[in-house]
């Protein structure tokens, strides 16, 4: 084996230009597929992070109740006192089960309302946040005007800059908000614009923020009640597992109904937009108490993940096509190699080398060229990704949602690299196999005469 390895390795250096061309072609394929994998990995990570910030957490719990008149009301009345579990309620007990996984636990309410200032009005997602009990929230906002409200500012409003522009409202102005209560009644609240903030990546998803207790009053959920419980996890990859535990512990809608609900509204906030008022059809079974729905960041990401999976498959197909073209070159090269080294093969066979060992030398040589190309391709890909990740892109476009602080980021999954290398190696060996087998089968007497 040592002798074969030594010969195969040194043979790669015999025709340096030819080896460089083959390895170069292979490295181009590796470069393309690695950068594409890195791009989809990076964008996927950025979107997940942006969505986590936007929605607020990794696992989202919403609750629905049924009134006597069969109205479905979005509300959670169970107590989960100040982020700590163990309040004796079903929700508190369920949360206690996964307490070790939870980094932060936030109560939110969210509704789609109409903000009115003078003759202007805009529709806006209004999110109630307990920023007194959630002290990390306000400092996380990027202010563009005004100042962060203090704990006493009960009706403070924090608006995305675009909404403030459309309303032509300035800091300190009074703004009316028309919202629907959880039972579908119209209600009007009065807010004072405290600050404007930068848009989140996608303007349409940007929320206005108000105090949870004041919004609770407006939407009529009652003091201490809320609509959504958001869990930030220490390890976001555990989101599905945590959700499973919660689903097992909490009363939830039957599977078929859950599927219908999922299809009807944005994930994470089922029914919360537009007042969330609907009536239970007469043919459906009513329920008592609160019924919970648990969704995760993975559910939110599912469609995007599907898209990235398709992109990964497309890049893999491109890679295989590029490699297949390259492998035609490998086959031809090794046919030439067979003719060039036929006497050498005859000598090795005469000296006592078995056919399999001759074949192995050819295959090892192809493997070395493949690995050389792969290594070079990975280095090129790393350099390309480094350069691309240093470019700062326009921060005012929706593209921002896919970026990290205005920059492209790349995350190459090690499994993809391993898969690509395995495919590359397999194709290299396959391409060299037929010439290798032919070389091994040439009778020594024929090979020593210099013909194949």
């Amino acid at each position: 084996m040592l002798g074969q390895l030594r010969i195969a390795f040194r043979n790669t250096g015999r025709q340096k230009k030819r080896t460089a061309l083959l390895a170069g072609a292979i490295s181009f394929g590796v470069l393309v597929v690695t950068v594409l994998n890195g791009f989809t990995g990076g964008v996927s990570r950025n979107i997940e992070r942006a969505l986590t910030d936007l929605i607020g957490g990794h696992v989202y719990i919403s609750g629905t109740e049924l009134t006597e008149s069969r109205l479905i009301v979005n509300v959670i009345r169970d107590s989960v006192a100040d982020g700590s579990a163990g309040g004796g309620s079903a929700l508190a007990d369920a949360v206690a089960e996964v307490e070790g996984q939870i980094a932060e636990l936030n109560r939110r309410s969210r509704t789609l309302g109409t903000l009115i200032f003078g003759s202007k009005q805009v529709n806006q997602i209004i999110e109630g946040v307990d920023w007194v009990g959630e002290p990390g929230f306000l400092p996380s906002l990027s202010l563009t005007g005004g100042a962060l409200p203090g704990p006493e500012a009960r009706n403070a409003l924090i608006l995305p800059e675009s909404a403030a522009d459309r309303l032509r409202v300035a800091v300190g102005d009074q703004v009316l908000a028309r919202v629907a209560t959880v039972t579908g009644q119209q209600n009007v609240g009065e807010f004072v614009l405290a600050a404007t903030i930068e848009e989140s990546g996608i303007t349409a998803f940007s929320s206005a923020f108000v105090r949870l207790d004041y919004l609770a009053e407006l939407i009529d959920t009652g003091a201490g009640e809320f609509q959504l419980l958001h869990l930030y996890l220490h390890d976001p990859r555990q989101a599905d597992r945590v959700a499973e535990v919660l689903r097992a512990r909490l009363p939830t809608a039957p599977e078929e109904e859950r599927v219908q609900e999922d299809a009807g509204g944005p994930p994470g906030t089922p029914g919360a937009f537009g007042g969330g008022v609907s009536r239970l059809p007469a043919d459906e079974e009513p329920w008592d108490g609160t019924r919970y729905e648990i969704t995760t960041i993975d559910d939110v990401m599912a469609q995007a993940s599907d898209l990235f999976r398709v992109l990964d498959i497309v890049s893999l197909v491109v890679f295989v096509i590029l490699l297949t073209i390259t492998m035609v070159g490998v086959v031809n090269t090794f046919r030439m190699v067979l003719l060039e080294r036929i006497r050498e093969i005859g000598t090795m066979r005469a000296v006592g080398m078995q056919r399999g060992a001759v074949r192995a030398i050819f295959l090892m040589e192809a493997g070395f060229i493949g690995l050389l190309g792969a290594l070079f391709g990975l280095v090129l890909a790393a350099a390309a990704m480094l350069i691309l990740s240093r470019l700062t892109l326009d921060t005012d476009t929706p593209l921002q949602f896919f970026l990290d602080a205005g920059r492209l980021t790349f995350a190459v999954p090690p499994l993809s690299v391993a898969t690509n290398l395995a495919i590359l190696l397999a194709l290299s060996l396959l391409a060299a196999f037929i010439p290798a087998r032919r070389a091994a089968r040439v009778p020594p007497s024929v090979a020593l005469r210099g013909s194949a």
């Binding site: 002798g3 050498e344 005859g346 000598t347 090795m348 078995q354 007497s445 020593l448």
Partner: protein
């Protein structure tokens, strides 16, 4: 036991629609330790006979026994093993592996067999062979950096690496000047004496033939003369 027994061997090659009778019924015996020259002009069948003794080619009819083994009908793997264990080869064009240096070329046969020779023992034996053929100062050189005579010395050392019973040399001096040719044959003779290895070489040069103990002369695929210059073959 005879090292080689060739009995009524014929070899016919197809050539288009005709046939070439390269060897037309040859018989001879080579004893262990012999230093044999197969002499004859070009096309007399020397290389064909050496190839058949070396299990590189097989006779059309007749039998070839190498160290008592009838080589007819052997599977490729068994024949390859026989070549590796019993035979050494020296070629007219040296046929060294160009990407290996002198030491690695000599060591090469020791790395490809089933038997594993310990590294230290292997290195010692290879160094001894290189020293014996006078290439001590060139052990790290590749074939392209050596003269024709030096390359053939490497080939001789490589042929002896596996301690074979028989070394076959096909026109080992054909590509060398007369002075170097004599040195190479003398070296082979010395190796024959030192290691007791049977040497069978083909040549068409009369001066080289004269050095052999046992001469088999061929003409048109037939043995025309066979004689020994020494009174008794070596024990």
């Amino acid at each position: 036991m005879a090292a080689v027994e060739v009995t009524d061997v014929r070899k016919v090659y197809p050539l288009g629609k005709t046939e070439v009778h390269a060897v037309k019924g040859v018989s001879f015996t080579v004893e262990e330790g012999d230093f044999v020259s197969i002499a004859g002009p070009s096309g007399s069948g020397k290389t064909t006979i050496l190839n058949m003794i070396g299990c590189i080619d097989s006779p059309t009819t007749g039998t070839v026994r190498v160290m008592g083994t009838d080589t007819a009908g052997m599977a490729d793997r068994a024949v390859t093993d026989l070549r590796h264990q019993v035979l050494g080869f020296i070629f007219q064009s040296f046929n060294l592996v160009p990407v290996l240096n002198v030491t690695e070329n000599v060591e090469f046969p020791l790395l490809i067999g089933k038997a594993r020779v310990p590294k230290a023992e292997r290195a010692g034996w290879v160094a001894h062979l290189i020293d014996a053929v006078g290439l001590d100062e060139h052990r790290a050189h590749r074939p392209a950096e050596l003269s024709g005579g030096q390359r053939q010395r490497v080939a001789i050392a490589r042929a002896l690496a596996n301690k074979p019973s028989i070394v076959l040399a096909d026109e080992p001096t054909a590509n060398l000047d007369s002075e170097t040719s004599e040195q190479i044959i003398e070296l082979m003779k010395r190796m024959n004496a030192e290691f007791g290895t049977t040497f069978i070489f083909s040549t068409h040069k009369p001066a080289i033939v004269a050095i052999a103990d046992h001469v088999i002369r061929l003409q048109d695929g037939l043995v025309t003369e066979e004689f020994r210059t020494a009174a008794e073959p070596p024990a």
